[in-house]
């Protein structure tokens, strides 16, 4: 099978059996799957630090979900059949887990989003202190998680902290015909 690795801000969807991989710290990946058409896809996103309650930061996550949903619909998927698997939201910082930290905000956001969209969560592995490797098979909807040791944390943390600004999606154009 073809293998594709995605990074923060990325998405990949396919109607062919492919293996999508990513490495998560406090970020979230959602794997969506349409079991009838065997269309699967994954994204990888993070809400920016510190502004999660103002409504603005959720656009990062909402946009990542919109792009994934749109890509899967283009491949013949039907959102009414989508099921979701949710991974990530680890505390990679060496601080105590708090209710309003970035990982918790990410987890809260995605649960609420999926509920609003009506996508059942068929599998979830979120929170905790360990980074995760995610392997998702687009043809079957199966996902495998490998938890990584603490030595990977520092590097991941550095990468993630640099990312929110770099991956902030600009608002799209408005065109009147």
């Amino acid at each position: 099978v073809k293998e594709v690795t995605i990074y923060i801000g990325g998405i990949h969807a396919s109607d062919q059996p492919q293996l999508v991989k990513t490495l998560l710290g406090s970020c979230i990946s959602v794997c969506l799957f349409d079991p009838v058409r065997a269309v699967g896809g994954m994204n990888h996103f993070m809400l920016p630090h510190g502004v999660a309650s103002d409504g603005d930061s959720s656009r990062f996550g909402a946009y990542a979900m919109d792009v994934l949903i749109g890509a899967m619909m283009k491949l013949g998927g039907d959102r009414r059949r989508f099921v979701a698997k949710v991974f990530g939201g680890a505390h990679v910082l060496n601080v105590k887990e708090t209710a309003n930290g970035v990982p918790q905000q990410n987890i809260h956001f995605i649960r609420e989003f999926l509920e609003n969209e009506g996508f059942p969560i068929t599998s979830e592995d979120v929170g905790g202190y360990h980074p995760r490797h995610v392997h998702f098979y687009t043809g079957t909807g199966k996902a495998f998680i490998k938890r990584l040791g603490a030595e990977k944390r520092a590097r991941l943390l550095e990468a993630e902290q640099a990312m929110p600004v770099a991956t902030a999606p600009a608002y799209g154009d408005v065109t009147l015909f």
């Binding site: 919109d66 949903i69 749109g70 619909m73 283009k74 799209g172 154009d173 065109t175 015909f177």
Partner: protein, 81 residues
């Protein structure tokens, strides 16, 4: 019931947004109704297809809520004048 304004995505189940725009435009009640397309589709060819289908405007996600409000007010005002 007739709508004053329609906002639609492109990638939707059963009927895609461009087909919806075409079908609405074919109805007398919707010939001049503002129809905004709000979508992650940002390609010029898609926008052109939207224009040809009869869309009033094309807004690419992610969108700014205030900008959407302004656009809605603008096309409604334009419709009335």
């Amino acid at each position: 019931m007739e709508a004053d304004l329609v906002i639609t995505d492109v990638n939707m189940p059963e009927m895609d947004g461009l087909t919806l725009v075409k079908e609405l435009r074919a109805r007398p009640a919707y010939r001049f109704t503002p129809i905004l397309v709000l979508t992650t589709e940002s390609g010029d060819d898609m926008k052109q297809r939207g224009r040809e289908a009869g869309a009033t405007g094309w807004l690419v996600k992610p969108f700014d809520a205030e900008r959407l409000r302004q656009t809605v007010s603008h096309v409604l005002a334009r419709r009335r004048s």
